[in-house]
Symmetry: C2
Subunit: 472 residues, 2 copies
């Protein structure tokens, strides 16, 4: 988690809840049950990027749909060629504001499996923390909104807002269903605010609302040489080795200071304004904190920017995977037929993922050595997001967080991407509220993913309060 | 296989066998049986570099030991901490010359398994070719000598030489047993010639004796960064990515023309003499032949040398494997905790593998970027080998090949390494006869490894004839 810097604000506010005592008492009384139910959700191995888990992903969709149906919502399971979308809504009364809650029931792959302390789909609770794939990203977070709504339904307390849910199953695999649905059904998703809980608190004692997400251009580079793996003795020195060729290409993506060498890469980057720089600096994030969080031997990156500025507001270019030849135990003297790299570029406002992906492909082809065949594929993209910090809904979100967590929230950015948020902004024209309940140390996308139950319960409470605050 | 160049010699000699008609008739009558028995040997998945196959490797050792014991040889199975050595000898009469036959019962790993047309340990015979892992490297080749000796024992024909076998199980994994045994027991292995069949014919119609093998320095580079895989959005741009770092290191091993950048790498290289260059040129090997053999889009390598010169007499530096992060289907946005490369350098006379390995490690540390931890390990080494072309035993070998294959043999080199040969030269001080029966297209170390049965039978015949020719 982010450690508190000496000067970080720790003002705890007197709690002046706007949600009814009945609703909040219901939440308190059902904490254990809410954890048990979350664990049932986490047991479903809904890995969307691995097609042999498609049945599991469909079970996860049904799990969500069944819960919402049981709460009396009108529920649709929508199939658009990939994994299903679950859309649900309460009775829509035009005199009320409408909140649209978005989340995803799919999860990341689990390898390397041997680094997990417990099987990733057998949740374990230890010291108030639940460990499982999807605990924080995003099952645990999206589920807070369902439990918050449930409290209104079960207590019979009047809902002051209309509530809609759109929960997808292709967030981790770059599927198209949610995009198609949003573009073709903006009326169905029409709302006064889109609430997305798929980001983090600033740290365990300071909540925050995220006002900017990085975008993404995810690329795959495939290098082909000989028709099959060759004996490195028989043919070494006579043909270009695809493994060596791939290394040359990847080495040509970045300079020694961590700046990306793709021509034009930085042209559209929106610089931070002074207020943002000052706000970041006030948080007191240091390289020591980074090293604690990551275990990396040192901080590294572009000169002229603080580590938090690079993390939140500078575009990056990272190898996500390298594969070629033999990677097992011992030695195999093979000259590999092919080599593959997965490379993702995290983009910031106002970079255009399509333009960056094209420039990347052109650059790779330009620097590729002779003697091999090189293909570049753009696996998926996401637009960067920037949300105005001053709006009624942003203020309602800040008040809800402050009451739900009992601490004054701050404005933060996030290096991760939530690709759909840009599309929501474009087609629904409503403010996006990035209310994150995770921690940066929740090991999302890594072994031993986890979610703090305190943050889970506070998150449910925050969502319940928001259903009142947003009505103002 | 090597195609015949227009000017390649195709003079077929009148066969003037020196082995008895009885022995040769026995071989002709048992061709099918010899194939069946070889298939039994090939069914044992003796992958020495994978410890979960150790039991299989021991079964392969027992298979060989049992056969030799049944022929009446004195057999020892020697355990020196790794996989067993099988040593066997006929009755040793001091008035006879002694041939020591060396080979290995272990095989390479089989991945990528999905590129095999049949399961690698279920031999299939099609169009006179047996397909299985180990068919050519080296089970099929070492077995020729056992079958040749068997013909003498079964027919009761007098052996004119003493025969010893030393068959190991760690050739493909760089194990130490054979080295320790050779260094500690030179008297036991004492002989007038060491016969090694683990190389190739020049092509399917021209046999050859190999007079030089490349050496090897096999390296592993391990790059460590964060303590665990990170989310590439959350931490991209803040720490050095081990995948990018590894690519930079590997790219720094070679220049754009395929010359190795390790300082001093070429210092000890013995240049080809004019006779060798002329001999290579006469074979008429072309880049078109190379492209046919490998399926590579083009030839590539050091300027100033023909392709055959690079293949046979220039040192190389090849990636054998790259592993980092996520290599599966689709996208995973991970910043990997570590990255690994396996790199082998094939060395020529008079390069010293230890010195090269040290220079390599120094170079890697010198070019490694900051922000990651880099380890270099020298997994195993082999000395390059050069055998004088003019000796009695070499002439006996040439005569045997000519009669066994019915064609005039040529002198060839080999890009592969047989690490033990250098040690044999050093400790046994006897000439090494590299009598190869494989083809360069036998897919050794690759999917669909194969061995032509015609070459198997001719090989057995050649070995049987050598048991007479060597006695002269």
């Amino acid at each position: 988690m982010r450690q508190n810097a000496p000067n970080a604000r720790k003002t705890y506010m007197k709690e002046t809840t706007m949600a009814s005592e009945k609703v909040l008492a219901h939440l308190d009384a059902h904490r254990d049950q809410h954890v048990d139910q979350l664990c049932d959700f986490l047991r479903i191995p809904s890995i969307s990027s691995q097609s042999d888990h498609d049945d599991d992903s469909r079970r996860a969709a049904a799990f969500v749909a069944d819960e919402l149906r049981e709460l009396g919502l009108e529920v649709e399971t929508i199939e658009l060629g990939g994994l299903p979308l679950v859309f649900a809504q309460t009775e829509i009364r035009p005199d009320r504001k409408t909140l649209l809650f978005y989340g995803h029931y799919d999860v990341q792959p689990v390898d390397p499996l041997d680094l997990w302390d417990n099987p990733p789909f057998e949740p374990v609770i230890k010291d108030g923390i639940v460990y499982a794939r999807g605990a924080s990203d995003d099952k645990g977070q999206v589920y807070t909104h369902i439990k918050a709504l449930e409290a209104y339904i079960r207590t019979g307390e009047e809902l002051l807002v209309n509530v809609k849910f759109i929960i997808e199953g292709e967030e981790e695999s770059g599927g198209e269903s949610i995009y198609r649905f949003t573009e073709e059904n903006p009326d169905k998703l029409a709302c006064d605010a889109i609430v997305v809980s798929d980001t983090t608190l600033y740290n365990e004692s300071i909540p925050g609302i995220c006002y900017s997400l990085k975008g993404l251009a995810y690329m795959e580079i495939r290098v082909d040489g000989p028709a099959k793996d060759l004996h490195s003795g028989s043919y070494g020195g006579t043909v270009k080795n695809p493994g060596n060729a791939l290394a040359e290409i990847v080495a040509g993506l970045m300079d020694a200071d961590g700046r990306c060498l793709v021509p034009g890469f930085y042209d559209a980057v929106l610089d931070l304004d002074d207020e943002e720089r000052a706000g970041f600096a006030e948080l007191g994030y240091t390289d020591e904190i980074l090293k604690d969080e990551t275990g990396a031997p040192a901080a590294f990156g572009e000169k002229g920017y603080t580590t938090l500025e690079r993390m939140w507001a500078r575009p990056t270019c990272d190898v996500n995977g390298l594969v070629s030849g033999y990677g097992g135990e011992g030695a195999k003297t093979v000259l590999p037929a092919k080599a593959l790299a997965k490379v993702s570029m995290r983009l910031v406002p106002n970079q255009d993922p399509d333009a960056v992906a094209k420039a990347f492909a052109d650059h790779v082809h330009a620097i590729a050595p002779a003697g091999v065949t090189v293909e570049v594929e753009n696996l998926h993209n996401a637009n960067p997001v920037l949300v105005p910090r001053k709006s009624d809904m942003m203020q309602a979100g800040m008040r809800s967080l402050e009451q739900g967590f009992g601490a004054k929230p701050v404005f933060i950015r996030e290096g991760g991407s939530i690709p759909i948020v840009g599309t929501f902004q474009e087609y629904l024209k409503s403010p996006v509220l990035l209310l994150g309940y995770g921690l940066s140390t929740d090991n999302i996308h890594s072994p031993n993913e986890k979610f703090h139950l305190d943050n889970y319960w506070r998150g449910i409470r925050t969502s319940a309060i928001l259903m009142v605050e947003a009505a103002k």
